[in-house]
Amino acid sequence: MHQIISLLQKYRFFLLFLLLESIGLILTLNYHSYQKTKYINASNAFNASINKRIFNFNNYFKLEKNNQILVEDNFRLMQELLNLKNQKDTIIQDTVHRNFKLIQTEIILNQYKNLDNFLIINSGSKQGIQVDMGLINDKGVLGIVNNVSNNYASILSILNSNIKINARLKNSNYFGTISWDGKSYNRVQIEDIPRQATVEIGDTIVTGGRSIIFPDGIPIGKISSLESRDKTYKSIEIELFNDMASLSNAYIIINNDASEILNLENQAREQ
């Protein structure tokens, strides 16, 4: 017993070090587990309020850029309106987009340098935000809501190694899945594109519309490089339309039919 005590006494610093590192490791492992990342969330009121203050402060320096973005948005919308007026004789048969509604929000925390990045927006359940809703801005897809508190929500960024988004080639209807390899914050990858698809550098990638999160046709990026072997696509790199290092205004997409579709899916599974 005396020997054990003297041994503990001798290695007390090392043992304390091991204990603290073990606690840190447990916290780190939880951080790397997607299901358990929910503590990185907006429910931490202290963090959210600090981030909001920093966002408000930084926003003053971005006013000129934000104004430019709004002018460009306005210009694009006016052009679309003009085109729609010119097409007044055409019957618009697109029923997909009618089921989606947008909620304007602001990104108050933007991570993009980690392997698993998150965004925090200043809208929460009070504004009607729910888990598994999509976040977009005028340039394209940003992420998916993964946790919601009253006034804030955390978003699984498109720059997160756990993200999977259904996508397709804009010019042809070949579908694939968007993922991120964690290497560059302006590039993601698309997998599972069938070998018969004709893919070229510069092709635009948009959302596929095969999920309840994003409607069809939301821009994601364009193909910047591709590697093929034995007539199959080994890796297709997509340069994002968004500058993920500089985000401020965004929109949450609400699918009004989401619960109906989910109910049907659940019923089909039960049968």
């Binding site: 840190g24 916290l27 290497k183």
Partner: protein, 168 residues
Amino acid sequence: MNNRTINILIQGIFLYFLQILVFNHIEIGPYVKLYPYIAFVLLYPLTENRFGLFISSFIFGLLIDISAGTGGINAMALTLCAYLRLPILKFVLGNNDIDYNNFHLRQIPIDKGLSFIFLMTLIFCLMLYSMSYFSTEYIGSIILKSFLSTFATFFILILGIFTFTKPR
């Protein structure tokens, strides 16, 4: 609470807010992050009893983790630095005769002081990014980010330590 404890507390609070309010928001390219809060371990008074250093480093790192939503990676990296501080100091100084009561970074020869700060920063960044990626698949990114962030943080630390501490 004696003067030394109050000094450590003030230093810690200052570095904490400096890190979460300023340096966590500074972006230098896609690979570089700045971690000047490691100065907490570098400037912590040297004593033979290292319990206080270990515990306070762990708590400090954890507070940074909670603020940045990064699990426990900062706590692990800062605790490792705290543990290795004395061995690295002995290695850099090349002897074991350290005056624990009167030791200060500004007291030792400048080349040895710079080597000590650089090694500590490198160990911190390597641990931080290894834990952040947590996969051998990203070994290239871990090494690249660690070295670039080490150089940038080292520069900031030198600037800060030489500006805010008096020569002894």
